[in-house]
Structure formats: structure tokens, C-alpha cells
Point group: C2
Chain length 210, copies 2
């Protein structure tokens, strides 16, 4: 697996976010509208053509270069395409993850709308698992600055998670050799809806390097 | 939770798919292009405006009506917005799920591209959990025709799952009262990358009704 990356300054990072984030936000709006729209068939076909035309323009120059960057000041990777936090990825909500000073705990406040639905009006159970896997991985890897891969994750669903405003948290329980044990949860305003525990493992190549 | 639904014929279902599926497919193409594009700033801003304009048109008439339909012939729900199988949901790959005749096993062959990325070139571990949660739920609920909710799910990651062509399967292990025990896996061409087991529970209101 190629974990090569380029380092950019915080200023360069901010410029790239300013360039790409509004585009991803516009596509997120379109995703939502395309689920709910009730316009007639001709209007749908026109919309489809307009979208295909924009896609063709965007595809005219591909930028496969800096998929993995790190910000010099923080050492944080810039995960543009990440399915949970990717600023450039319209399928990511995206979550903004906060870490405490000693990197033993992280949390995020976020909103999940129609695209994340499972049962009517409820978050897909697998989307809860996706968010929890990400939060647990963030805290296990000290904010994605250390290589730690999910070994196992277990999610316990206490009740259905409603679409809307949510909070997720994760914390390190203990470290035993190459294994980091973490726990986390998702909650709505009424309390916890799903809990998770996971074991994350430092890969052999990182141990050798350390 | 409102599980009311309208019943439509298979023909009506096919007409709705023909109407909406190409729109969702166009948005999926745009999602991918927006992650990879390397066009200049002015072209990005123009694309953004064009997208916002299409969104505005689609938002002009909302169709909140038939979110939950069932097809008369099969009894299958039509989960338009579902995050994994939703035909109208551009963030869904979407997966097409096949069930065997006695509804004890289901499987899907699908492809996951850049929007589902975690580590470079690899599927986000949480996306594997999302797919597995869905497959396990499908088989536990006999193709979403019976109410069964995830109690717990555990995912064990054997190795990183590459982006590209994948297969997932799930099967019922045993049923004990209100609990259905299921197992499943995701595999690439080389074999299994992640395994899952889960316990699904029949809700009290369905027991009373049964």
C-alpha cells in the first residue's frame, strides 16, 4: 500500500479547501434534491443532460496527483476523497473531527439527511457503523497521524437513530502492545442510540519503522 | 415509526425506475468527477453555478409522497432513498441484492469507486461495515419483507479491501425466538477481505401483530 504523501502549508491547505469545498457542497445539494424531486419527466431529462455536461467539463482535466497530502503544521493528512471526512467527496457528510490535547478522545457534531436513510426517517444502521468505524479509527490513530487499521469493530444498536442533528464520540480504552482498544457512541438529543467497541492494530511495517 | 406504504404494480415500479434511475446515475458520475477534477478555478466556479441552478429546478417541486412503496407481486419494498440500495439515492452504489428461493441466503456483485475510499486505493473500513450491515439485514428480514432490526453487528477485517469489483454474501445461521443470527462476508477476486456476524431482532409491535 502506497502511503507516500506531499506536505503543504496550512495556507495552501486553506486555499485548496476554498477552491473545492463549495463545489462538493453544491453536489451535496444536488444529491438531496435528486432524491426528493417531483418535477415532470422532461424537466428530469433536462436536469440529467445539464449534469452530464458539467461532468464532462470536470472530467476534461483530471487531478490524480495529491490524493494524500499532509499539513506541515499539524501533520494531519488531507483526506480529500475519504467517505466520511473528505472535503472534496460529496458523499461524505462531511464530518469535522475534534481531538482533545492528549489525543485520547475525539468527537464530532454533524447532521445526516435523506441520503443516509435506512428505515423511513431513520439513519441506515450501516451508516451508524460507518461513522463509528471512522471515529474509532481517528482516536486509535491519534488523528490519522499514526498507521492503525481496524482489526474488529462491534456495534450495538440501542434504538433507531433519527435523521437530523447527531453527535459521535470515541475514546481510547487501553493499549496492549500493537493493539489499541477503543470505544465510542452516536447520540441524538435524547441520548445514545448506538455504541461501538473496536480493536485497532499497528501494521508490521510501522512496527519495523518505529 | 411509520411503516405505512402504498402498493404499486411491477409495471408501475419499472416506469418509476426508468424515470429516476438515469438521473441518479448522472449524479453519481458528477460525484466521481468532482473528486478527481483538475480544471481551473473559473471552470470550477462555473460548474458550481450550473449545479446550483439544476438543484433549484429540481427543488421547485418536492415529492415527499411515496418514499415507501411495495411492489405487489414480490412484496419487496421500494427503498428509493436507501443509502445502500436506493435507486434514487446517488450516494448508494447502488447494490442489487439477490436472494435464494427459500430466503436463507443473499448476495450482491458490485463495484466501489473513489467516493467509497478510506486509505489510498482502499475501501473505507466503515463502508465495508455499511455494506455488510445491509446484506445481513436483507437476509435476516427475508428481503426486507419482515421487520427485523440490527441488535448487534461485529465486523472482522482480514485485510484491506481494494476499490473495484467486489462480492458480498450473507446467510442465516439460526433463529432463536425473536433473534435471527446471520453471517456474511465481502470478497475481492483473491478471496474474503472482511467477515461479519450479526443478531437481528423482531420488534415487539411485529410480534404482537404476528
Amino acid at each position: 500500500m502506497d502511503f507516500a504523501f506531499d506536505v503543504i502549508s496550512a495556507d495552501q491547505h486553506d486555499q485548496l479547501v476554498a477552491l473545492y469545498e463549495p463545489l462538493a457542497r453544491a453536489v451535496r445539494g444536488l444529491i438531496d434534491a435528486s432524491i426528493h424531486t417531483g418535477v415532470d419527466e422532461q424537466t428530469i431529462r433536462d436536469a440529467q443532460s445539464a449534469i452530464e455536461s458539467v461532468t464532462q467539463t470536470l472530467e476534461s482535466t483530471r487531478h490524480d496527483g495529491y490524493r494524500t497530502l499532509r499539513v506541515a503544521e499539524s501533520g494531519r493528512p488531507v483526506a480529500w476523497a475519504n467517505a466520511v471526512i473528505g472535503v472534496r467527496n460529496p458523499i461524505a457528510p462531511p464530518l469535522t473531527i475534534h481531538h482533545n490535547a492528549d489525543a485520547t478522545r475525539c468527537w464530532s457534531e454533524f447532521s445526516l439527511g435523506a441520503p443516509y436513510e435506512g428505515p423511513p426517517g431513520r439513519v441506515h444502521g450501516g451508516v451508524c457503523a460507518l461513522v463509528l468505524d471512522h471515529l474509532l479509527g481517528e482516536v486509535a490513530s491519534e488523528g490519522l497521524t499514526k498507521p492503525r487499521f481496524t482489526g474488529t469493530i462491534s456495534v450495538k444498536y440501542l434504538r433507531a437513530t433519527p435523521l437530523g442533528e447527531l453527535r459521535a464520540e470515541a475514546g481510547i480504552e487501553r493499549v496492549e502492545g500493537v493493539k489499541t482498544f477503543v470505544r465510542g457512541f452516536i447520540a441524538d438529543a435524547e441520548g445514545i442510540t448506538a455504541e461501538a467497541e473496536g480493536v485497532f492494530i499497528e501494521p508490521a511495517w510501522a512496527r519495523d519503522a518505529g
